[in-house]
Amino acid sequence: MYDVVIIGAGVSGCAIARELSRYEVRACVLEKEEDVCCQTSKANSGIVHAGYDAAHGSMMAELNVIGNQKMEALSKELDFAFVKNGSLVVCLDIDALPNLYKLYENGIANGVKELRILNQEEVRELEPNISDQVIAALYASTAGIVCPFGLTIAFAENAAMNGIEFCFDTKVEEIEKLRSGFIIRTNKGNVVTKYVVNAAGVYSDEIHNMVSENKIHITPRRGDYCLLDKATEGFVKQTIFQLPDKFGKGVLVSPTAHGNTIVGPTAIDILDKEGSNTTAEGLNHLIKTAGNTVKNLPIRQVITSFAGLRAHEEHHEFIIGEVEDAEGFIDCAAIESPGLTSSPAIGEKVATLLANKLSLHKNERFNGTRKGILNPKTLSPQERNALIAKNPEYGNIICRCESISEGEILDAIHRPLGAKSLDGIKRRTRAGMGRCQAGFCSPKTMQILARELNLDALEITKCGGESKLLLDRR
């Protein structure tokens, strides 16, 4: 019997798992996919929002600001890519200027520090490629960019290091409320637990509705993105937002934590919770509207496009807390933007709640520091040569676009919750994430995966399940 079962290994579930591992607890994360960070957490803007958007007084606002404040220190503790690059909300229309000031005031009320309204010249000085139509902008120096995979994987690995179990390819089919605790029925068998945390993303309504009469409904809100070649690095330095409308924060143009430029998202409400396919309309819309805030967007440098689903609930507020008619069942539902930013705060909030309910003791052996995959590019040539002398695999470049060595791929496979698929390797090391989009490295990466995991090459998948890459021997 577990003390806690967390459903969903996205950024929220993994953050909760990591914070919960500070306590003596028997806990497990159930994930229907083959890896952590496979759905909403993998396909988003990767922005650490300052916290001026969410309505003052909301939980969203509170957790956003706390999450933002925690992110920089956390990036050092857990060793993931984070850059505090600042953001600009650009006002292009004199009639919309009051909305920009409203946003500013909302931010001040939310406790966002260092917010400023910049005039035309100040904006241009910061961003030479800003649209000529710019009138003013809201500048938030506390905003940042984060690698969403890096963040989620870091939470998960640190949780695993500290004793939290993870079960992949495990889909929750039914939850039965017992007098005290729950039986969770999955495709892999039954799990008994005292507490359940519902961090199931776009499925958090289905999981919630298994135990509660107060039904909730999550709408998958699709966001299409285009990612541009690293050659565009420096096109914008800050994250450039349009003034928000009822569908959210509009289409942004931003550097990523790894030096690409990202353009997106659209906001299209759909029915299919697995509908993460891009559409021609979506991509065309992006290309058309992204040009509103910047000029000469190098859109021809696009190397890939993708879509993610936000877990939108009509009240546009996080649903976090014990469900009224299901004691022991903790919702962490409707986590849409700024969910990624808020994740450190969400983790803490839910873990504290559980610790109090279960009267958990501190885990004396808790180690909150996690080393990420060694990036040889950060070493001096001397250090790098010492590394190669010891581990020659670091001298063998597998992914030439991103310059990723075999040593890094081996590390990704053999660390806690290691990579099992091409996408798993990609999210951990960036191998295959560059301009050739894995054309060159995928045969080599597959060979390494097969060798290290003792599998036949025919069993290697892109992302688990039926996503096999090769179908036969010749």
Binding site: L227, R435, A457, G465, D472
Partner: protein, 429 residues
Amino acid sequence: MKQLIYDIVIVGGGPAGLAAAIEALKEGVERILIIERDRELGGILNQCIHNGFGLHTFKEELTGPEYAQRFMEEVKEKHIEYKLNTMVMDITPNKVVTAMNTLEGMFEIEAKAIILAMGCRERSRGALNIPGYRPAGIFSAGTAQRFVNIEGYMPGREVVILGSGDIGLIMARRMTLEGAKVKVVAEIMQYSGGLKRNIVQCLDDYGIPLKLSHTVVEIKGKERVEGVTIAEVDKTGKPIEGTEEYYTCDTLLLSVGLIPENEVSKQIGVELSNVTSGPTVNESLETSVPGVFACGNVLHVHDLVDFVSEEAAQAGKNAAKYVKRVQKDLNTLDEELMHEILLIPTQGVRYTVPQTIRPECMEEEQVIRFRVGDVYRNRYVSVYFDNERVLHKKRPIVAPGEMENVYLKKEDILKYPELSQITIKLEED
């Protein structure tokens, strides 16, 4: 860090790098190093196991590995040095090459001249913005070729191919011979970007339909490709509603263009052409950085490897000449003051390689390679020295898939001491 010194460093041990090395040695430079990232020399030829190579160079039909073998043997016989499994990490404008492998770690090589021979890569799905899911089963044709011919695996059984570049056409035949069903090849343009002979020998002979002015508008399947929808496109390349056709398949191969791989060239500061995506070069195939030469598919994408070898030999020879000039400490300033003639492609001609000519540095005869932007019938290829037409050659058909050339004689150009522009164009009469 270990430091090495060579006269010429050649980046890439494919057909271009090998031919350049052999010719540079013939020209009398001995300290030559080829750096190859793969486990063997020969480059992409190693996976091109079909025949059709070498008709121009050797007057016989060879497979890719056989063609490469001839150059590899010569390199080995002549004891030209090479390093395998070695990646060039950086090259400075002063020609200091930083490379890395498992045995030596990171090391530096000081070179007097550099020959860029890195080849090209395939354009990926992402660059096309094809909407849909991102399942397994979408491969560039060259990656699929590697799986089948080198690794010995079949990436799919039911195949649709987007793009009719040569590798796509070759793979249509190859997959068919290995028992797969290739249902259709869709090409967005009104013409194929591949060689005529490949369309006949790889599609027509096997009854594989080629649909011109068609593209993939949707990919179905979340985990593995389940099917694709193709549609006809209008003149602007936009899909025409109502023309959609669905094909069930487990694999989509892409053969939608090749991109010269010039990331290292950019580090050196070499100027690139917007049209070829390769360096701009003069008659010596020297880039905008003196002593840095380029040849093969990194310079511009070729149709036949025979022309790569020919071009690379020229680059090798000129790199050797450059090294000898530097060794004699000749002032290179003279060169900068030399008379330079611009080559202007226009009226159907997309680009020329080289882009400039210095008559004083020319060989007796200079080949100008170019490609046209569309299929044209019964046109004349014309060359103008400023406003005077000096060549007028009838061609029954010219197409983007086939590289064209004209030869210019040094003696002819020297007759025009004031010549500033040579224009190459297509004319109706």
